[in-house]
Symmetry: C2
Subunit: 304 residues, 2 copies
């Protein structure tokens, strides 16, 4: 049987927030969904699309009587948001979030969570490069993982209820500490995004190759990086500001490995190159076997 | 009217070679296609799939009487191949290739091309991460670019004929010098592949995050890099061995830019991060506007 909340409040209605609204409606997981968004444009769009039944400029108004409150804004505003809603959270309700970093989320939010409210940080490992309330779709969380990072001593029944919520949205749920989450995501998500952004920046600033050449011939590899690098700049700025240590650690290792490859290129060491390339191919096969990517060539990409 | 060759010889029947065979058949561009492949398995598959009407172990047998000869093997074997076929090339025929590097191709092949044979190096900017004779499809070259790098003094009518050949396969054709090609591809293709391989290698060698965690949570960005890193190791080894200077130049710039980003992360410089991320998003939009990638979220990737 599905989990059911009387009232869910979604604070921040972008790609993830709107996808949760659509998933909740599709699975009938709530009596009512209300929302908060800072911009009037987003609030109007949320009502127009029927994502929420009511939408508020003031987040405190949105959380009143809500049984489940989900922070879906960029993580840079969590602290202000938590301070604003803290006194208005209903006793016995669950407060969670979808942010890509967990350590600083705990630091920023926990002080404002009243006793009797179950604070369980979370992170659905799902998304696209699109953003805004029109980008959401109900199946975004299907066959993906959602990581919860409950603090010691949190109510086990509340964790179970939130787990079922994400399962009902189509995901599998894992539990780990905030610190371990931040290390795992630094390598699987934050480093790849930083590298993609950096590759695009490098290509944009050459004197010897024009930007129009880079764009014309991008199907040879470069274009893949630009998809990731098209993700929301505010969200990603906040990720890097909030997961500094783990990102710097992964960057250090990346640079070390790159020096080895660079040396192999310089000295014509074909064996080192071939062996590393062969190992990389195996990782791809494991990801496909784990159901985390399509086996279709070129992502089954639609022809342009 | 389409171009037409009496006999085309395809040397090396992998993803690109088999796609040319299928495109030539679909467009009826040849009286006959014959092939050469080193491995008996590939030769049998090529016949079984009807890619070619005859297939030879000895490349010299394949090129006899051919009006168009296309080298489609990894570029590391071009020199041996050119030496083997040189004396058997038909006067007035066109010799071309599909390799991802052009400078060393000219160096390796030109000495073996007899007078009266039109040697015009080429490079279709198209592919997938799959390899082998079963990976090909006729529409691979549709809406892509093909770069030709004819040497000074080459027969203009032959260049025109080869241009029409690629146009008939669905591509647009550009002409540039081998050196400029190698710079352009170093940034649009070779650097992205090296970076993708390096990211995968970095993730595979952590003590703090397990390989199974990397694979489970790869949908957060990492998996995109693994597609590129699943490309044929032999082909890519040869690319890096043959475009050393341009790749090292682009790597140097990449590392320089990365130091700037790393510093911004370390010092919490959100403005630098935000501005760079915003610029990167614009490059993505240009690529979509140029018809070089799909606008669908997540590449229109099929759900796993």
């Amino acid at each position: 049987m599905s989990v059911h909340f009387e009232k869910i409040a979604i604070l921040g209605i972008g790609l993830i927030g709107s996808s949760i609204c659509l998933g909740v409606k599709a699975q009938n997981l709530a009596g009512k969904i209300v929302g908060h968004a800072k911009s009037i444009g987003t609030r109007n769009t949320a009502l127009e699309l029927g994502l929420v039944s009511e939408v508020f400029e003031n987040p405190a108004d949105a959380v009143k009587d809500a049984d489940l409150v989900i922070l879906c804004t960029p993580i840079g505003v969590y602290k202000v948001l938590a301070e604003a809603i803290g006194p208005h959270l209903k006793a016995g309700s669950i407060l969670t979030d979808v942010g890509s970093v967990k350590g600083t989320v705990v630091r920023d939010c926990a002080p404002f969570v009243p006793a009797g409210v179950h604070f369980i940080p979370g992170h659905p490992i799902a998304g696209t490069e699109q953003s805004g309330p029109r980008a959401g779709f109900a199946s975004l969380f299907h066959d993906r993982w959602c990581i919860l990072t409950p603090l010691p001593g949190v109510n086990a029944a509340a964790v179970e209820q939130l787990t079922r919520f994400w399962q009902d949205l189509g995901s599998q749920v894992d539990v780990m500490t905030p610190d371990h989450h931040d290390l795992v995501l630094a390598i699987t998500s934050h480093l790849p995004h930083l590298i993609a952004y950096n590759t695009v920046a490098t290509a944009a600033d050459l004197e010897t190759v024009t930007n129009s050449e880079v764009i014309k011939y991008s199907a040879s590899g470069f274009r893949d990086f630009t998809r990731i690098a098209a993700s929301d700049p505010t969200m990603w700025r906040d990720v890097f500001l909030n997961n500094k240590d783990a990102v710097l650690e992964m960057l250090g290792r990346f640079t070390e490995e790159l020096a080895v490859l660079q040396r192999a290129v310089r000295w014509g060491d074909g064996e080192t190159l071939f062996n590393l390339f062969t190992r990389a191919r195996e990782v791809r096969r494991s990801i496909i076997a784990a159901g985390q990517d399509t086996a279709a060539p070129d992502f089954g990409r639609s022809k342009t």
